[in-house]
Symmetry: C2
Subunit: 320 residues, 2 copies
Protein backbone atom coordinates (compact mmCIF):
# COMPACT_ATOMS: atom_id res chain seq x y z
CA UNK A 1 0.00 0.00 0.00
CA UNK A 2 1.40 3.36 -1.06
CA UNK A 3 -0.21 6.80 -0.84
CA UNK A 4 0.56 9.94 -2.83
CA UNK A 5 -1.17 13.32 -2.60
CA UNK A 6 -1.40 15.47 -5.70
CA UNK A 7 -2.08 19.20 -5.71
CA UNK A 8 -3.07 21.55 -8.51
CA UNK A 9 -4.18 25.11 -8.20
CA UNK A 10 -6.85 27.33 -9.63
CA UNK A 11 -6.34 28.53 -13.19
CA UNK A 12 -7.84 31.37 -15.13
CA UNK A 13 -8.70 30.69 -18.76
CA UNK A 14 -9.95 33.06 -21.47
CA UNK A 15 -7.51 35.75 -20.31
CA UNK A 16 -9.45 38.77 -21.69
CA UNK A 17 -8.46 38.92 -25.40
CA UNK A 18 -7.05 35.37 -25.10
CA UNK A 19 -10.46 33.71 -25.33
CA UNK A 20 -10.00 29.92 -25.68
CA UNK A 21 -6.23 30.23 -26.22
CA UNK A 22 -4.64 31.65 -23.06
CA UNK A 23 -4.74 30.60 -19.42
CA UNK A 24 -2.55 30.82 -16.35
CA UNK A 25 -2.19 29.17 -12.96
CA UNK A 26 -2.13 30.92 -9.61
CA UNK A 27 -0.47 29.49 -6.47
CA UNK A 28 -3.56 29.03 -4.37
CA UNK A 29 -6.23 27.89 -3.71
CA UNK A 30 -6.13 24.39 -5.19
CA UNK A 31 -7.58 20.88 -5.09
CA UNK A 32 -5.93 17.86 -3.48
CA UNK A 33 -6.25 14.30 -4.68
CA UNK A 34 -5.01 11.45 -2.48
CA UNK A 35 -4.35 8.21 -4.30
CA UNK A 36 -3.73 4.92 -2.52
CA UNK A 37 -2.32 1.98 -4.43
CA UNK A 38 -3.51 -1.50 -3.46
CA UNK A 39 -1.83 -4.56 -4.94
CA UNK A 40 -5.04 -6.54 -4.99
CA UNK A 41 -6.75 -6.79 -8.37
CA UNK A 42 -9.79 -4.58 -8.87
CA UNK A 43 -13.26 -6.10 -8.78
CA UNK A 44 -14.82 -3.83 -11.40
CA UNK A 45 -12.74 -0.70 -12.17
CA UNK A 46 -9.01 -0.22 -11.52
CA UNK A 47 -9.88 3.12 -9.91
CA UNK A 48 -12.54 3.69 -7.27
CA UNK A 49 -13.61 6.83 -5.44
CA UNK A 50 -13.33 6.51 -1.70
CA UNK A 51 -14.50 9.98 -0.72
CA UNK A 52 -15.09 13.49 -2.03
CA UNK A 53 -14.96 16.39 0.42
CA UNK A 54 -16.08 19.94 -0.14
CA UNK A 55 -18.35 19.54 -3.15
CA UNK A 56 -21.63 19.44 -1.22
CA UNK A 57 -22.42 16.10 -2.87
CA UNK A 58 -22.53 17.60 -6.35
CA UNK A 59 -19.83 15.53 -8.06
CA UNK A 60 -20.42 12.02 -9.45
CA UNK A 61 -18.77 9.05 -7.71
CA UNK A 62 -18.83 6.81 -10.76
CA UNK A 63 -15.11 6.54 -11.69
CA UNK A 64 -15.92 6.97 -15.39
CA UNK A 65 -17.93 10.15 -14.79
CA UNK A 66 -15.85 11.92 -12.17
CA UNK A 67 -13.14 14.01 -13.82
CA UNK A 68 -10.36 13.13 -11.38
CA UNK A 69 -10.85 9.35 -11.63
CA UNK A 70 -11.64 9.49 -15.37
CA UNK A 71 -8.26 11.03 -16.15
CA UNK A 72 -6.49 8.35 -14.06
CA UNK A 73 -8.30 5.68 -16.07
CA UNK A 74 -7.15 7.37 -19.29
CA UNK A 75 -3.61 7.52 -17.90
CA UNK A 76 -3.64 3.78 -17.10
CA UNK A 77 -4.99 3.00 -20.56
CA UNK A 78 -2.15 5.03 -22.11
CA UNK A 79 0.45 3.19 -20.02
CA UNK A 80 -0.93 -0.10 -21.32
CA UNK A 81 -1.12 0.95 -24.99
CA UNK A 82 1.93 3.22 -25.27
CA UNK A 83 4.36 2.29 -22.50
CA UNK A 84 3.76 -1.43 -22.24
CA UNK A 85 2.90 -1.04 -18.55
CA UNK A 86 -0.03 -3.27 -17.66
CA UNK A 87 -1.28 -2.02 -14.31
CA UNK A 88 -2.84 -4.88 -12.33
CA UNK A 89 -3.54 -3.26 -8.98
CA UNK A 90 -6.26 -0.99 -7.71
CA UNK A 91 -6.19 2.73 -6.97
CA UNK A 92 -8.43 4.33 -4.39
CA UNK A 93 -9.07 8.04 -4.85
CA UNK A 94 -9.97 10.69 -2.31
CA UNK A 95 -10.72 14.20 -3.56
CA UNK A 96 -10.42 17.29 -1.38
CA UNK A 97 -12.31 19.87 -3.34
CA UNK A 98 -11.16 23.31 -2.26
CA UNK A 99 -12.20 25.13 -5.41
CA UNK A 100 -15.82 26.13 -5.87
CA UNK A 101 -17.68 24.49 -8.76
CA UNK A 102 -18.80 26.49 -11.84
CA UNK A 103 -16.74 29.40 -10.60
CA UNK A 104 -14.52 30.20 -13.56
CA UNK A 105 -11.52 29.11 -11.48
CA UNK A 106 -10.71 25.93 -13.40
CA UNK A 107 -12.13 23.68 -10.71
CA UNK A 108 -12.39 20.52 -12.85
CA UNK A 109 -8.95 21.10 -14.38
CA UNK A 110 -7.38 21.37 -10.91
CA UNK A 111 -8.91 18.05 -9.81
CA UNK A 112 -7.73 16.37 -13.01
CA UNK A 113 -4.20 17.77 -12.84
CA UNK A 114 -3.84 16.91 -9.14
CA UNK A 115 -5.01 13.34 -9.80
CA UNK A 116 -2.59 12.95 -12.70
CA UNK A 117 0.40 14.30 -10.76
CA UNK A 118 -0.36 11.82 -7.98
CA UNK A 119 -1.02 8.85 -10.29
CA UNK A 120 2.18 9.45 -12.26
CA UNK A 121 4.31 9.49 -9.11
CA UNK A 122 2.45 6.50 -7.67
CA UNK A 123 3.48 4.41 -10.68
CA UNK A 124 7.11 5.54 -10.86
CA UNK A 125 6.74 8.69 -13.02
CA UNK A 126 6.47 6.99 -16.42
CA UNK A 127 5.07 10.14 -18.11
CA UNK A 128 6.24 13.72 -18.61
CA UNK A 129 3.95 16.57 -17.64
CA UNK A 130 3.48 17.32 -21.34
CA UNK A 131 2.12 13.80 -21.84
CA UNK A 132 -0.15 14.19 -18.81
CA UNK A 133 -1.65 17.38 -20.22
CA UNK A 134 -3.51 15.36 -22.84
CA UNK A 135 -5.43 13.41 -20.18
CA UNK A 136 -6.17 16.58 -18.22
CA UNK A 137 -7.71 18.07 -21.34
CA UNK A 138 -9.77 14.90 -21.90
CA UNK A 139 -11.05 15.41 -18.36
CA UNK A 140 -12.54 18.74 -19.40
CA UNK A 141 -14.71 16.95 -21.90
CA UNK A 142 -16.19 14.87 -19.07
CA UNK A 143 -16.59 17.90 -16.82
CA UNK A 144 -18.12 20.39 -19.21
CA UNK A 145 -18.62 18.78 -22.59
CA UNK A 146 -15.74 20.47 -24.40
CA UNK A 147 -12.07 19.47 -24.35
CA UNK A 148 -10.72 22.99 -23.93
CA UNK A 149 -7.14 23.35 -22.73
CA UNK A 150 -6.88 26.84 -21.32
CA UNK A 151 -7.45 25.64 -17.76
CA UNK A 152 -6.13 22.07 -18.00
CA UNK A 153 -2.78 22.99 -19.54
CA UNK A 154 -1.78 25.69 -17.03
CA UNK A 155 -3.14 23.54 -14.15
CA UNK A 156 -0.67 20.84 -15.21
CA UNK A 157 2.25 22.98 -16.41
CA UNK A 158 2.01 26.26 -14.48
CA UNK A 159 2.85 29.70 -15.97
CA UNK A 160 0.82 31.23 -18.77
CA UNK A 161 0.04 28.68 -21.43
CA UNK A 162 -0.91 29.75 -24.94
CA UNK A 163 -2.67 27.15 -27.05
CA UNK A 164 -1.39 27.73 -30.57
CA UNK A 165 -3.24 24.76 -31.97
CA UNK A 166 -5.49 21.96 -30.75
CA UNK A 167 -4.84 19.60 -33.64
CA UNK A 168 -2.05 18.80 -33.18
CA UNK A 169 -1.87 20.12 -29.63
CA UNK A 170 0.76 22.85 -29.58
CA UNK A 171 1.28 24.62 -26.26
CA UNK A 172 3.53 27.62 -25.72
CA UNK A 173 4.74 28.32 -22.19
CA UNK A 174 4.99 32.00 -21.31
CA UNK A 175 6.73 32.68 -18.00
CA UNK A 176 5.11 35.53 -16.06
CA UNK A 177 6.83 38.84 -15.30
CA UNK A 178 8.38 38.87 -11.86
CA UNK A 179 6.08 41.40 -10.21
CA UNK A 180 2.78 40.37 -11.75
CA UNK A 181 0.09 39.60 -9.18
CA UNK A 182 -3.39 38.28 -9.77
CA UNK A 183 -6.40 39.23 -7.71
CA UNK A 184 -9.24 36.77 -8.03
CA UNK A 185 -12.74 37.57 -6.80
CA UNK A 186 -15.29 34.78 -6.62
CA UNK A 187 -18.84 36.01 -6.01
CA UNK A 188 -21.16 33.45 -4.47
CA UNK A 189 -23.17 32.58 -7.55
CA UNK A 190 -22.67 29.88 -10.18
CA UNK A 191 -22.40 30.25 -13.95
CA UNK A 192 -22.37 27.01 -15.94
CA UNK A 193 -19.62 26.87 -18.56
CA UNK A 194 -22.00 25.39 -21.13
CA UNK A 195 -24.47 28.25 -20.61
CA UNK A 196 -21.74 30.89 -20.71
CA UNK A 197 -20.64 29.37 -24.02
CA UNK A 198 -24.17 29.44 -25.41
CA UNK A 199 -24.38 33.25 -25.16
CA UNK A 200 -21.43 33.69 -27.53
CA UNK A 201 -22.01 34.42 -31.21
CA UNK A 202 -20.96 31.80 -33.79
CA UNK A 203 -19.55 34.41 -36.13
CA UNK A 204 -17.96 37.77 -35.41
CA UNK A 205 -17.11 40.76 -37.62
CA UNK A 206 -13.63 40.51 -39.14
CA UNK A 207 -12.91 43.98 -37.74
CA UNK A 208 -13.72 42.80 -34.21
CA UNK A 209 -11.58 39.70 -34.66
CA UNK A 210 -8.67 41.82 -35.88
CA UNK A 211 -8.96 44.06 -32.83
CA UNK A 212 -8.90 40.99 -30.59
CA UNK A 213 -5.81 39.44 -32.17
CA UNK A 214 -3.96 42.76 -32.04
CA UNK A 215 -4.52 42.66 -28.29
CA UNK A 216 -3.48 38.99 -28.01
CA UNK A 217 -0.18 39.73 -29.73
CA UNK A 218 0.39 42.77 -27.54
CA UNK A 219 -0.47 40.86 -24.35
CA UNK A 220 2.07 38.14 -25.18
CA UNK A 221 4.64 40.85 -25.91
CA UNK A 222 3.84 42.61 -22.62
CA UNK A 223 4.22 39.36 -20.65
CA UNK A 224 7.51 38.38 -22.30
CA UNK A 225 9.09 41.84 -21.98
CA UNK A 226 7.68 42.60 -18.48
CA UNK A 227 5.93 45.67 -19.88
CA UNK A 228 3.21 46.07 -17.23
CA UNK A 229 1.57 49.07 -18.90
CA UNK A 230 1.27 47.17 -22.16
CA UNK A 231 -0.21 44.18 -20.30
CA UNK A 232 -2.82 46.53 -18.89
CA UNK A 233 -3.65 48.14 -22.24
CA UNK A 234 -3.93 44.71 -23.89
CA UNK A 235 -6.36 43.21 -21.38
CA UNK A 236 -9.25 44.03 -23.65
CA UNK A 237 -11.87 41.52 -24.72
CA UNK A 238 -14.22 42.75 -27.44
CA UNK A 239 -15.67 39.29 -28.10
CA UNK A 240 -16.68 37.31 -25.00
CA UNK A 241 -16.71 39.87 -22.18
CA UNK A 242 -19.51 42.04 -23.62
CA UNK A 243 -21.72 38.93 -23.98
CA UNK A 244 -20.88 37.33 -20.64
CA UNK A 245 -20.80 40.42 -18.45
CA UNK A 246 -24.61 40.39 -18.06
CA UNK A 247 -24.33 36.93 -16.43
CA UNK A 248 -22.33 38.44 -13.56
CA UNK A 249 -24.28 40.94 -11.43
CA UNK A 250 -22.26 44.11 -10.99
CA UNK A 251 -19.42 43.05 -13.32
CA UNK A 252 -18.70 46.53 -14.63
CA UNK A 253 -18.88 48.05 -11.13
CA UNK A 254 -16.34 45.49 -9.95
CA UNK A 255 -14.10 46.07 -12.96
CA UNK A 256 -14.18 49.82 -12.51
CA UNK A 257 -13.43 49.42 -8.80
CA UNK A 258 -10.42 47.25 -9.63
CA UNK A 259 -9.08 49.75 -12.17
CA UNK A 260 -9.63 52.68 -9.81
CA UNK A 261 -7.73 50.80 -7.09
CA UNK A 262 -4.73 50.57 -9.43
CA UNK A 263 -5.18 47.30 -11.33
CA UNK A 264 -3.46 47.08 -14.72
CA UNK A 265 -6.54 45.41 -16.18
CA UNK A 266 -9.53 43.31 -15.22
CA UNK A 267 -11.78 40.78 -16.96
CA UNK A 268 -13.89 37.68 -16.46
CA UNK A 269 -12.07 34.57 -15.17
CA UNK A 270 -12.81 31.71 -17.56
CA UNK A 271 -16.52 31.80 -18.27
CA UNK A 272 -17.26 33.48 -14.94
CA UNK A 273 -18.63 34.38 -12.50
CA UNK A 274 -15.19 34.97 -10.98
CA UNK A 275 -13.40 38.13 -11.99
CA UNK A 276 -9.62 38.54 -12.13
CA UNK A 277 -7.36 41.57 -12.18
CA UNK A 278 -3.62 42.01 -12.67
CA UNK A 279 -1.44 44.37 -10.66
CA UNK A 280 2.26 45.10 -10.68
CA UNK A 281 2.73 44.70 -6.91
CA UNK A 282 1.31 42.57 -4.12
CA UNK A 283 0.24 45.65 -2.19
CA UNK A 284 -1.80 47.00 -5.10
CA UNK A 285 -3.25 43.55 -5.77
CA UNK A 286 -4.51 43.43 -2.16
CA UNK A 287 -6.07 46.90 -2.42
CA UNK A 288 -7.69 45.80 -5.66
CA UNK A 289 -9.11 42.76 -3.85
CA UNK A 290 -10.68 44.92 -1.16
CA UNK A 291 -12.17 47.21 -3.78
CA UNK A 292 -13.63 44.28 -5.74
CA UNK A 293 -15.14 42.70 -2.62
CA UNK A 294 -16.63 46.04 -1.63
CA UNK A 295 -18.06 46.56 -5.11
CA UNK A 296 -19.74 43.13 -5.16
CA UNK A 297 -21.23 43.78 -1.73
CA UNK A 298 -22.76 47.13 -2.62
CA UNK A 299 -24.63 46.20 -5.80
CA UNK A 300 -28.35 45.53 -5.59
CA UNK A 301 -27.77 41.76 -5.25
CA UNK A 302 -25.29 42.37 -2.37
CA UNK A 303 -23.04 39.46 -3.28
CA UNK A 304 -20.46 38.08 -0.91
CA UNK A 305 -17.18 37.33 -2.66
CA UNK A 306 -14.04 35.39 -1.74
CA UNK A 307 -10.80 37.13 -2.64
CA UNK A 308 -7.40 35.59 -3.36
CA UNK A 309 -4.18 37.41 -4.17
CA UNK A 310 -1.42 35.36 -5.76
CA UNK A 311 1.51 35.54 -8.15
CA UNK A 312 1.36 33.32 -11.21
CA UNK A 313 2.38 29.75 -10.34
CA UNK A 314 5.51 28.54 -12.12
CA UNK A 315 5.28 24.96 -11.05
CA UNK A 316 1.95 23.53 -12.11
CA UNK A 317 0.55 20.33 -10.63
CA UNK A 318 2.77 18.64 -8.04
CA UNK A 319 2.79 16.07 -5.29
CA UNK A 320 2.81 17.10 -1.66
CA UNK B 1 19.05 75.95 -50.87
CA UNK B 2 19.45 72.70 -48.93
CA UNK B 3 18.92 69.14 -50.16
CA UNK B 4 18.18 65.99 -48.11
CA UNK B 5 17.57 62.47 -49.44
CA UNK B 6 15.29 60.16 -47.46
CA UNK B 7 15.20 56.39 -47.82
CA UNK B 8 12.64 53.85 -46.64
CA UNK B 9 12.53 50.20 -47.52
CA UNK B 10 9.92 47.68 -48.51
CA UNK B 11 7.65 46.36 -45.78
CA UNK B 12 5.49 43.32 -45.51
CA UNK B 13 2.12 43.74 -43.85
CA UNK B 14 -0.51 41.14 -42.93
CA UNK B 15 2.20 38.75 -41.71
CA UNK B 16 0.18 35.51 -42.14
CA UNK B 17 -1.97 35.27 -38.99
CA UNK B 18 -1.20 38.94 -38.26
CA UNK B 19 -3.71 40.27 -40.80
CA UNK B 20 -4.05 44.05 -40.39
CA UNK B 21 -2.01 44.10 -37.16
CA UNK B 22 1.55 42.99 -37.93
CA UNK B 23 4.15 44.18 -40.42
CA UNK B 24 7.92 44.32 -40.74
CA UNK B 25 10.56 46.15 -42.73
CA UNK B 26 13.31 44.57 -44.79
CA UNK B 27 16.62 46.28 -45.63
CA UNK B 28 16.18 46.54 -49.38
CA UNK B 29 14.87 47.44 -51.89
CA UNK B 30 13.47 50.87 -51.00
CA UNK B 31 12.29 54.23 -52.32
CA UNK B 32 14.30 57.46 -52.25
CA UNK B 33 12.83 60.93 -51.90
CA UNK B 34 15.04 63.95 -52.51
CA UNK B 35 13.78 67.19 -51.01
CA UNK B 36 15.20 70.58 -51.83
CA UNK B 37 14.38 73.57 -49.67
CA UNK B 38 14.04 76.96 -51.37
CA UNK B 39 13.70 80.10 -49.30
CA UNK B 40 11.38 81.76 -51.79
CA UNK B 41 7.70 81.72 -50.88
CA UNK B 42 5.57 79.19 -52.75
CA UNK B 43 3.27 80.39 -55.51
CA UNK B 44 0.49 77.83 -54.90
CA UNK B 45 1.54 74.91 -52.69
CA UNK B 46 4.50 74.82 -50.23
CA UNK B 47 5.47 71.48 -51.80
CA UNK B 48 5.82 70.76 -55.50
CA UNK B 49 6.82 67.61 -57.35
CA UNK B 50 9.83 68.13 -59.58
CA UNK B 51 10.13 64.59 -60.91
CA UNK B 52 9.10 60.99 -60.37
CA UNK B 53 11.32 58.22 -61.71
CA UNK B 54 10.52 54.54 -62.04
CA UNK B 55 6.72 54.62 -61.84
CA UNK B 56 6.07 54.48 -65.57
CA UNK B 57 4.00 57.64 -65.24
CA UNK B 58 1.43 56.00 -63.00
CA UNK B 59 1.66 58.26 -59.95
CA UNK B 60 -0.09 61.64 -59.69
CA UNK B 61 2.01 64.82 -59.70
CA UNK B 62 -0.57 66.90 -57.86
CA UNK B 63 1.08 67.49 -54.44
CA UNK B 64 -2.22 66.82 -52.65
CA UNK B 65 -2.73 63.50 -54.42
CA UNK B 66 0.75 62.04 -54.46
CA UNK B 67 1.45 60.15 -51.22
CA UNK B 68 5.00 61.40 -50.72
CA UNK B 69 4.12 65.09 -51.11
CA UNK B 70 0.80 64.73 -49.28
CA UNK B 71 2.52 63.49 -46.12
CA UNK B 72 4.98 66.40 -46.27
CA UNK B 73 2.05 68.81 -46.47
CA UNK B 74 0.49 67.09 -43.42
CA UNK B 75 3.84 67.36 -41.63
CA UNK B 76 4.08 71.10 -42.35
CA UNK B 77 0.49 71.59 -41.18
CA UNK B 78 1.33 69.77 -37.92
CA UNK B 79 4.42 71.95 -37.39
CA UNK B 80 2.24 75.03 -37.74
CA UNK B 81 -0.59 73.83 -35.46
CA UNK B 82 1.38 71.86 -32.85
CA UNK B 83 4.98 73.13 -32.85
CA UNK B 84 4.43 76.78 -33.65
CA UNK B 85 6.72 76.48 -36.68
CA UNK B 86 5.30 78.46 -39.59
CA UNK B 87 7.16 77.25 -42.67
CA UNK B 88 7.38 80.02 -45.24
CA UNK B 89 9.62 78.47 -47.90
CA UNK B 90 9.07 76.01 -50.68
CA UNK B 91 10.03 72.33 -50.91
CA UNK B 92 10.70 70.63 -54.22
CA UNK B 93 10.29 66.87 -54.23
CA UNK B 94 11.90 64.25 -56.43
CA UNK B 95 10.79 60.63 -56.01
CA UNK B 96 12.95 57.70 -57.06
CA UNK B 97 10.49 54.85 -57.09
CA UNK B 98 12.38 51.59 -56.78
CA UNK B 99 9.48 49.53 -55.42
CA UNK B 100 6.90 48.18 -57.85
CA UNK B 101 3.34 49.50 -57.46
CA UNK B 102 0.48 47.29 -56.23
CA UNK B 103 3.02 44.64 -55.33
CA UNK B 104 2.28 43.92 -51.66
CA UNK B 105 5.68 45.37 -50.79
CA UNK B 106 4.43 48.53 -49.09
CA UNK B 107 5.34 50.74 -52.01
CA UNK B 108 3.27 53.77 -50.98
CA UNK B 109 4.37 53.48 -47.33
CA UNK B 110 8.04 53.50 -48.38
CA UNK B 111 7.57 56.69 -50.41
CA UNK B 112 5.73 58.34 -47.52
CA UNK B 113 8.28 57.31 -44.88
CA UNK B 114 11.24 58.35 -47.04
CA UNK B 115 9.64 61.76 -47.68
CA UNK B 116 8.94 62.27 -43.97
CA UNK B 117 12.47 61.30 -42.90
CA UNK B 118 13.87 63.81 -45.40
CA UNK B 119 11.40 66.59 -44.52
CA UNK B 120 12.02 66.23 -40.81
CA UNK B 121 15.79 66.55 -41.22
CA UNK B 122 15.40 69.38 -43.71
CA UNK B 123 13.57 71.43 -41.08
CA UNK B 124 15.86 70.64 -38.14
CA UNK B 125 14.29 67.40 -36.88
CA UNK B 126 11.37 68.91 -34.95
CA UNK B 127 9.48 65.57 -34.75
CA UNK B 128 10.21 62.10 -33.39
CA UNK B 129 9.76 59.07 -35.63
CA UNK B 130 6.71 58.13 -33.57
CA UNK B 131 5.12 61.49 -34.45
CA UNK B 132 6.00 61.00 -38.11
CA UNK B 133 4.27 57.60 -38.18
CA UNK B 134 0.89 59.33 -37.98
CA UNK B 135 1.49 61.22 -41.25
CA UNK B 136 2.82 58.08 -42.95
CA UNK B 137 -0.43 56.31 -42.02
CA UNK B 138 -2.46 59.24 -43.36
CA UNK B 139 -0.54 58.76 -46.60
CA UNK B 140 -1.97 55.25 -46.92
CA UNK B 141 -5.43 56.73 -47.03
CA UNK B 142 -4.44 58.78 -50.08
CA UNK B 143 -2.69 55.83 -51.71
CA UNK B 144 -5.25 53.09 -51.20
CA UNK B 145 -8.29 54.48 -49.45
CA UNK B 146 -7.67 53.00 -46.02
CA UNK B 147 -5.37 54.33 -43.30
CA UNK B 148 -3.84 51.00 -42.40
CA UNK B 149 -0.60 51.05 -40.44
CA UNK B 150 0.98 47.64 -41.00
CA UNK B 151 3.20 48.95 -43.79
CA UNK B 152 3.53 52.61 -42.80
CA UNK B 153 4.58 51.95 -39.20
CA UNK B 154 7.41 49.47 -39.95
CA UNK B 155 8.51 51.60 -42.95
CA UNK B 156 9.03 54.47 -40.52
CA UNK B 157 10.20 52.59 -37.41
CA UNK B 158 11.80 49.37 -38.70
CA UNK B 159 11.56 45.99 -36.94
CA UNK B 160 8.29 44.12 -36.60
CA UNK B 161 5.52 46.47 -35.57
CA UNK B 162 2.35 45.16 -33.96
CA UNK B 163 -0.65 47.48 -34.06
CA UNK B 164 -2.45 46.86 -30.78
CA UNK B 165 -4.99 49.56 -31.42
CA UNK B 166 -5.79 52.18 -34.03
CA UNK B 167 -7.77 54.46 -31.77
CA UNK B 168 -5.71 55.56 -29.97
CA UNK B 169 -2.78 54.43 -32.11
CA UNK B 170 -0.79 51.96 -29.99
CA UNK B 171 2.25 50.42 -31.68
CA UNK B 172 4.39 47.66 -30.19
CA UNK B 173 7.93 47.25 -31.53
CA UNK B 174 9.11 43.66 -31.73
CA UNK B 175 12.80 43.29 -32.54
CA UNK B 176 13.52 40.39 -34.88
CA UNK B 177 15.51 37.30 -33.91
CA UNK B 178 19.14 37.56 -34.97
CA UNK B 179 19.14 34.90 -37.69
CA UNK B 180 15.75 35.55 -39.24
CA UNK B 181 15.90 36.16 -42.98
CA UNK B 182 13.09 37.11 -45.31
CA UNK B 183 12.81 35.97 -48.89
CA UNK B 184 10.49 38.13 -50.95
CA UNK B 185 9.27 37.06 -54.38
CA UNK B 186 7.49 39.59 -56.57
CA UNK B 187 5.79 38.05 -59.61
CA UNK B 188 5.22 40.45 -62.47
CA UNK B 189 1.51 40.98 -62.06
CA UNK B 190 -0.44 43.59 -60.09
CA UNK B 191 -3.09 43.07 -57.41
CA UNK B 192 -4.89 46.21 -56.26
CA UNK B 193 -5.13 46.51 -52.47
CA UNK B 194 -8.76 47.61 -52.66
CA UNK B 195 -9.68 44.56 -54.75
CA UNK B 196 -7.73 42.19 -52.49
CA UNK B 197 -9.68 43.67 -49.59
CA UNK B 198 -13.02 43.19 -51.34
CA UNK B 199 -12.58 39.39 -51.49
CA UNK B 200 -12.44 39.13 -47.69
CA UNK B 201 -15.53 38.18 -45.71
CA UNK B 202 -17.09 40.75 -43.38
CA UNK B 203 -17.68 38.18 -40.65
CA UNK B 204 -15.78 35.04 -39.75
CA UNK B 205 -16.62 32.05 -37.55
CA UNK B 206 -15.57 32.56 -33.92
CA UNK B 207 -13.68 29.25 -34.13
CA UNK B 208 -11.64 30.50 -37.08
CA UNK B 209 -10.93 33.78 -35.31
CA UNK B 210 -9.77 31.89 -32.22
CA UNK B 211 -7.41 29.77 -34.31
CA UNK B 212 -5.98 32.93 -35.87
CA UNK B 213 -5.35 34.71 -32.56
CA UNK B 214 -3.73 31.59 -31.10
CA UNK B 215 -1.26 31.81 -33.96
CA UNK B 216 -0.74 35.57 -33.51
CA UNK B 217 0.15 35.06 -29.85
CA UNK B 218 2.48 32.20 -30.71
CA UNK B 219 4.16 34.17 -33.51
CA UNK B 220 4.89 37.08 -31.16
CA UNK B 221 6.27 34.61 -28.62
CA UNK B 222 8.42 32.92 -31.27
CA UNK B 223 9.83 36.27 -32.42
CA UNK B 224 10.60 37.48 -28.89
CA UNK B 225 12.20 34.22 -27.75
CA UNK B 226 14.01 33.47 -31.07
CA UNK B 227 12.13 30.19 -31.34
CA UNK B 228 12.44 29.68 -35.10
CA UNK B 229 10.42 26.46 -35.13
CA UNK B 230 7.55 28.18 -33.34
CA UNK B 231 7.72 31.09 -35.79
CA UNK B 232 7.34 28.56 -38.58
CA UNK B 233 4.42 26.73 -36.97
CA UNK B 234 2.66 30.04 -36.27
CA UNK B 235 2.86 31.40 -39.81
CA UNK B 236 -0.65 30.20 -40.49
CA UNK B 237 -3.39 32.39 -41.90
CA UNK B 238 -6.84 30.83 -41.89
CA UNK B 239 -8.61 34.10 -42.68
CA UNK B 240 -7.10 36.11 -45.55
CA UNK B 241 -4.72 33.70 -47.31
CA UNK B 242 -7.40 31.20 -48.41
CA UNK B 243 -9.42 34.06 -49.98
CA UNK B 244 -6.50 35.89 -51.60
CA UNK B 245 -4.48 32.91 -52.82
CA UNK B 246 -6.64 32.59 -55.98
CA UNK B 247 -5.57 36.14 -56.96
CA UNK B 248 -1.95 34.95 -57.25
CA UNK B 249 -1.35 32.39 -60.00
CA UNK B 250 0.60 29.44 -58.60
CA UNK B 251 0.56 30.67 -55.00
CA UNK B 252 0.37 27.20 -53.43
CA UNK B 253 3.06 25.84 -55.78
CA UNK B 254 5.34 28.67 -54.72
CA UNK B 255 4.55 28.20 -51.04
CA UNK B 256 5.22 24.46 -51.24
CA UNK B 257 8.47 25.10 -53.09
CA UNK B 258 9.56 27.52 -50.36
CA UNK B 259 8.75 25.05 -47.58
CA UNK B 260 10.47 22.19 -49.38
CA UNK B 261 13.56 24.37 -49.79
CA UNK B 262 13.70 24.79 -46.02
CA UNK B 263 11.64 27.91 -45.26
CA UNK B 264 10.15 28.14 -41.76
CA UNK B 265 6.89 29.41 -43.22
CA UNK B 266 5.50 31.27 -46.21
CA UNK B 267 2.48 33.48 -46.91
CA UNK B 268 1.21 36.40 -48.97
CA UNK B 269 3.04 39.72 -48.55
CA UNK B 270 0.48 42.37 -47.72
CA UNK B 271 -2.45 41.90 -50.05
CA UNK B 272 -0.20 40.30 -52.69
CA UNK B 273 0.83 39.40 -55.30
CA UNK B 274 4.27 39.21 -53.64
CA UNK B 275 4.95 36.18 -51.48
CA UNK B 276 7.31 36.14 -48.49
CA UNK B 277 9.03 33.35 -46.61
CA UNK B 278 11.11 33.24 -43.44
CA UNK B 279 14.26 31.19 -42.99
CA UNK B 280 16.70 30.84 -40.13
CA UNK B 281 19.83 31.46 -42.22
CA UNK B 282 20.83 33.57 -45.22
CA UNK B 283 21.91 30.48 -47.14
CA UNK B 284 18.52 28.82 -46.75
CA UNK B 285 16.73 32.08 -47.58
CA UNK B 286 18.66 32.24 -50.87
CA UNK B 287 17.80 28.63 -51.73
CA UNK B 288 14.19 29.42 -50.91
CA UNK B 289 14.34 32.38 -53.29
CA UNK B 290 15.60 30.21 -56.16
CA UNK B 291 12.87 27.66 -55.46
CA UNK B 292 10.15 30.35 -55.44
CA UNK B 293 11.41 31.92 -58.69
CA UNK B 294 11.53 28.49 -60.32
CA UNK B 295 8.00 27.68 -59.12
CA UNK B 296 6.55 30.92 -60.51
CA UNK B 297 8.28 30.30 -63.84
CA UNK B 298 6.94 26.76 -64.31
CA UNK B 299 3.23 27.35 -63.71
CA UNK B 300 0.95 27.68 -66.71
CA UNK B 301 1.20 31.49 -66.62
CA UNK B 302 5.05 31.27 -66.59
CA UNK B 303 5.51 34.33 -64.40
CA UNK B 304 8.82 36.05 -64.05
CA UNK B 305 9.53 37.04 -60.45
CA UNK B 306 12.06 39.31 -58.75
CA UNK B 307 13.63 37.86 -55.64
CA UNK B 308 15.11 39.69 -52.64
CA UNK B 309 16.75 38.14 -49.58
CA UNK B 310 17.11 40.40 -46.54
CA UNK B 311 17.22 40.38 -42.75
CA UNK B 312 14.56 42.45 -40.99
CA UNK B 313 15.54 46.13 -40.94
CA UNK B 314 16.09 47.57 -37.47
CA UNK B 315 16.41 51.15 -38.48
CA UNK B 316 13.33 52.21 -40.42
CA UNK B 317 13.24 55.32 -42.57
CA UNK B 318 16.48 57.33 -42.65
CA UNK B 319 18.32 60.01 -44.53
CA UNK B 320 21.21 59.14 -46.82
Amino acid sequence: MKTVTGFASATIGNVACGFDVLGFAIREPGDEVILTLHDSEPSTSPVSIKAIHGDGGALPKDPKKNTSSFVVLKFLEYLRTHKDIDFQGHIELELRKNLPLSSGMGSSAASAAAALAAANELLGSPCTKMELVHFAIEGERVACGSAHADNAAPAMLGNFILIRSYNPLDLVTIPPPQHLYCTLAHPHIEVRTAYARSVLPRTIPLKTATEQWGNVGALVSGLLTSDYELIGRSLVDVVAEPKRAPLIPGFYDVKNAALEAGALGCSIAGSGPSVFAFSSSKETAEQVGSAMKEAFSTIEERLDADIWVSPVCHEGARTL
